[in-house]
Symmetry: C2
Subunit: 638 residues, 2 copies
Amino acid sequence: MQFYVDGFRGGDPDIRNAAPCRRNRGHHAPLPEKVDVLIAGCGPAGLCLAAQLSQFPEIETMIVERKPGPIEKGQADGINTRTMEMFQAFGFGEQVKREGYWVNQTTFWSPDPKNPERIQRIGRVQDVPEDSSEMPHTLINQARVHELFLDVMRNSPSRLEPDYSWSVRDVSIDNSTDDYPVTVTLENTGINAGETKTVQANYVVGCDGARSNVRTAIGGQLHGDAAHQAWGVMDILANTDFPDVRQKCLVASSSEGNILILPREGGYLFRMYVELDKLNPDERVSSRNFTEADMIAAANRIMKPYTIDVKQVVWWSIYEIGHRLTDRFDDVPAGEDRNPRVFTAGDACHTHSPKAGQGMNVSMQDTFNLGWKLVHVLQGRSDASLLRSYSAERWAEAKRLIDKDHEWSRIMSAPPGKSELDGGHMPRFQKQFIENLEFTGGLAVKYGPSALTAASSHQALATGEEIGRRFHSAPVVRVADAMRMQLGHVAEADSRWRIYAFTGAKDGSAPGSAIHRLADWLETDPSSPVVKYTRQGEDIDAVIDLRAVFQQHFDELAYEDMPSLLKPSKGRLGLQDHEKVFCVDHKGLGDIYDMRGIDREHGCMIVVRPDQYVANVLPLDAFTELSEFFAVFLVPAG
Amino acid sequence: MQFYVDGFRGGDPDIRNAAPCRRNRGHHAPLPEKVDVLIAGCGPAGLCLAAQLSQFPEIETMIVERKPGPIEKGQADGINTRTMEMFQAFGFGEQVKREGYWVNQTTFWSPDPKNPERIQRIGRVQDVPEDSSEMPHTLINQARVHELFLDVMRNSPSRLEPDYSWSVRDVSIDNSTDDYPVTVTLENTGINAGETKTVQANYVVGCDGARSNVRTAIGGQLHGDAAHQAWGVMDILANTDFPDVRQKCLVASSSEGNILILPREGGYLFRMYVELDKLNPDERVSSRNFTEADMIAAANRIMKPYTIDVKQVVWWSIYEIGHRLTDRFDDVPAGEDRNPRVFTAGDACHTHSPKAGQGMNVSMQDTFNLGWKLVHVLQGRSDASLLRSYSAERWAEAKRLIDKDHEWSRIMSAPPGKSELDGGHMPRFQKQFIENLEFTGGLAVKYGPSALTAASSHQALATGEEIGRRFHSAPVVRVADAMRMQLGHVAEADSRWRIYAFTGAKDGSAPGSAIHRLADWLETDPSSPVVKYTRQGEDIDAVIDLRAVFQQHFDELAYEDMPSLLKPSKGRLGLQDHEKVFCVDHKGLGDIYDMRGIDREHGCMIVVRPDQYVANVLPLDAFTELSEFFAVFLVPAG
Ligand SMILES: Cc1cc2nc3c(=O)[nH]c(=O)nc-3n(C[C@H](O)[C@H](O)[C@H](O)COP(=O)(O)OP(=O)(O)OC[C@H]3O[C@@H](n4cnc5c(N)ncnc54)[C@H](O)[C@@H]3O)c2cc1C
Ligand SMILES: Cc1cc2nc3c(=O)[nH]c(=O)nc-3n(C[C@H](O)[C@H](O)[C@H](O)COP(=O)(O)OP(=O)(O)OC[C@H]3O[C@@H](n4cnc5c(N)ncnc54)[C@H](O)[C@@H]3O)c2cc1C
């Protein structure tokens, strides 16, 4: 964690210095008339976007929420490993690791063949496969996740806060202008209920959930299941003689239905999902008068011979959801050739069954994809056409997810067949579960070849860092202070690109080595992307952040010989940054070259997008290819 | 981290529910007339004590500070591994790990024999030896440590805050009464400067630094060096071509003196200590007119051929300190037989050279020793004679430390001799440094046999957990949720005793096993300390917290068969606690039985004090000895 680059300041280093230009949030200050980005909705999608934009006080961001304040409990609770990696970039990964429940094992229970009235444990699976991620799979109250994002916003230079009690009623776009072309009509839902107000925006992002007004305004429609599924869900404080209550469990009874148990933060709380009957297209579950008492009774029937003695129902809901998807995630109809102005993200454009625990995760990944693109365009670093890639990339992912969701639901909701009751082979849903772990971890996402993710012509140089997939972290040692750490954790949610240069076998720190040639070219050559895209007065790593990884032990390297781009002077005081040079962790958790299939002989460069996806893998001397890669979507600094 | 045991509540789980009985801290609320404990001084010693006491809202604690508010920078910065272990118990160990600088390596620089005008690196030492502690040695601004303790206080049930701008002028004790016998005269140093106020207290703790008024009031005097040492110290933001600027360095020049470099939090800041001449007994360094510019110039002379280009001096000071010690740390004169009422801690009773980085650490360890004893006595769990052990235990440690300090200073301040310039053998100060690592880590502390630390008759059952030394953590897996973690991290700064029961080779979870016999006896036998000392209505682990460690893999154990004391019902709702049962971490960092020399055949119990020191090692069936151990200092519940 780096701070004090612009001079010392006491206190919590997560609180960044406030920008003088930030919006006046005094009690009677009016709403702004014009903003760069208006975000509708303070769910995971909206907050994840706002937290990114809030780091850039020159971008005027407004986030409105229909409710009068933040939620306290309920809704989703699963944070997959991919999302935890992203939380790390926002600075609160450690906090969730400390507070949250870690899903280490998942266990499977089925009817005992000798006595089908009773369930028995039939299997146990390690939930996060070895080295699939350096982060755990956790469970924590969605409201707490909101709060952690709100903290990031509050601590940011723009001190961003949501405008509560304002609902987006309508959105219209004037495609004839580039000057705040989107008009947003807000309606007060609080003390001045009904009052309306219009705000002009350059971009609008609808993170307003499954009943999104923004989606409707741009003519989007959710397509999907005819029949939707209803789930009874309750977060409870309860005692039980069921021995696996502190493990994630999938429980199938012979005739009473299925239950999913999710232990939660704090050591006592847990969640139970009880699968209810399918609903007809027009039916609402409320018509069935299902209550919390029914749910507790059902749970006790399913869990026999075990009993659950509920002491407090913290939250419960009947959660009805279909697997649905819109045709596009922006306002540009198919066939029309213009840049988008309005986007939808999260539940506003795709909804999921809670069973695979994806809803909240995918929503945040949507806006983690969109955030840096908006920043690039609003800072003038990229042409607005960059924004077209958002819908393209995320729609394909959402589609894949919905298809998986369907498959999963089909397999899971069929009653356990006779075949799986003999312990001889792995039961169907355990097998399915294991096969899906990479997918449910959020680690299977792969963006296809495009301007932002190269065709994989040099993939062989880093077989474990697949182009289009997220950069897979591994342990390294930081040379300047011999710090053992995760290489991936140098990436912050700061919209910067990263180049990890892995040196070849004989490449040391001596001048003339391949790493010197690369760093020196990047620092000085007119065709270098660092030279071309970094503006006067900016830190040399403001757009592209070079890091090097050596194969030697840290004390075999001469730090004094490192190229100057790897210890650049930064900030107001021009202070040297000593955190750019790494080496293999010889005595630690593994060798990053082996773990990620990096070519030891030649080394390579891995270009990583601001959202942590691998954009390109190149030889260390592929200067031209590197120039060309960035030239497609970055605009030279004036 | 456990929470929600009394029911769900949203928000940051570190913020505990406020106690209704807490002091009114409104703007015009008067100071209290009577308090249980009055702490003088908001340095590390005072805050570490206040943070402990604040967890017990029934104990009225007041902490006064002469200054108008918290410090922002300067003073000490070294947090040794032992203190980090203690921070973990306070809940902010992870935060310091994230924010602070980690001292991984220490390097040594000496004059180049071929060119003594130039320094060269002569050695490098891993700063924290393997498995000496699970925590790192860190460096962080003392003000930030204060803030983290202040957060603990603010988030506690009593919402404790310091009373700033009040100085303790005098303390007097009426030994004829037990009813608030100490009268404290406070003097306002703020807006009403000079105004005085008296407060009656049951106990007073002088954490008021080297010029302590409390010490003076109880007739204490610091004895020690005739000549004191002066150090120039500066925290700077600076650039340098010195390659080890991000490592802790001891630099000795041939004729310009010595420097100690300490990299600091945030990646840019570092500290330099420049050793100045010895002062005469009555001399103050101010008489020598030494300035920050002199210090920078001296540093540049010492560091040749390297240069230091200072961009910002964040803080600097000439820090004069002798190695000094009082005769006792409480108000009871030698030979007098009564219980103490007034204590001193930290710099108020012993002062150290900054070179070994002990001042702040030892000060906090003093009050970590005193805190739980005050809680026990004020809660009526122990007789007041328990408080005599504070001075006895901590004085011996302070004495040992001062002796070491002397030895270290002698070795370090002698100019480098010819002998150590040939690289053939390890230089004198590197050798000395390595030999002292356990000591400087704060890990060599050992309390002698007493009522609180048994004679070591069963030490052979756990050779790596020496009685009188701190409980040395090791990795385990929590059975209920397969969580890999450090066993030592179950201990919180909550004044509770812990018994870690390590099972023997054949001992499983089946009823009738040794662990069942122990747990059942502890839960039900009239002579069991759990039965004797736990009060009606309290959680069964309120005084003594039993945890078990098994040798099997977590999935070979039947959690349902565990004795009820290992899954007790707790809190307002009577919820089961599932975090008491552990097993060996087979695929992790090591086997705790091997790492700590636990007898595999027979197992054992390790009794650990609230301040994390090993109090006793006993066979699993030593019921009588266990009873007798606690009977010496605990009072049966009414
Ligand atoms: C009641 C409920 C229960 C759920 N239970 C589960 C569960 O058990 N398991 C699970 O996995 N997932 C559950 N979910 C889904 C999960 O919470 C979502 O997948 C996830 O929150 C999606 O994030 P989002 O940001 O896209 O949308 P949301 O979290 O739905 O956030 C949308 C936000 O926009 C606000 N909003 C709506 N319209 C407007 C408007 N016009 N103007 C301004 N603000 C507006 C809403 O108040 C809301 O705060 C539940 C959702 C709800 C609503
Ligand atoms: C200026 C300064 C520089 C230092 N520099 C270093 C260094 O470079 N390296 C190093 O290792 N250590 C240094 N130290 C020492 C280190 O800070 C101490 O060892 C450590 O803080 C001891 O903690 P303490 O709580 O015992 O005392 P202190 O931290 O000294 O705290 C005592 C507190 O009590 C307050 N106080 C004093 N008298 C009264 C009174 N009558 N009533 C109420 N409050 C009172 C003081 O204002 C102070 O806040 C320095 C100390 C000082 C004061």
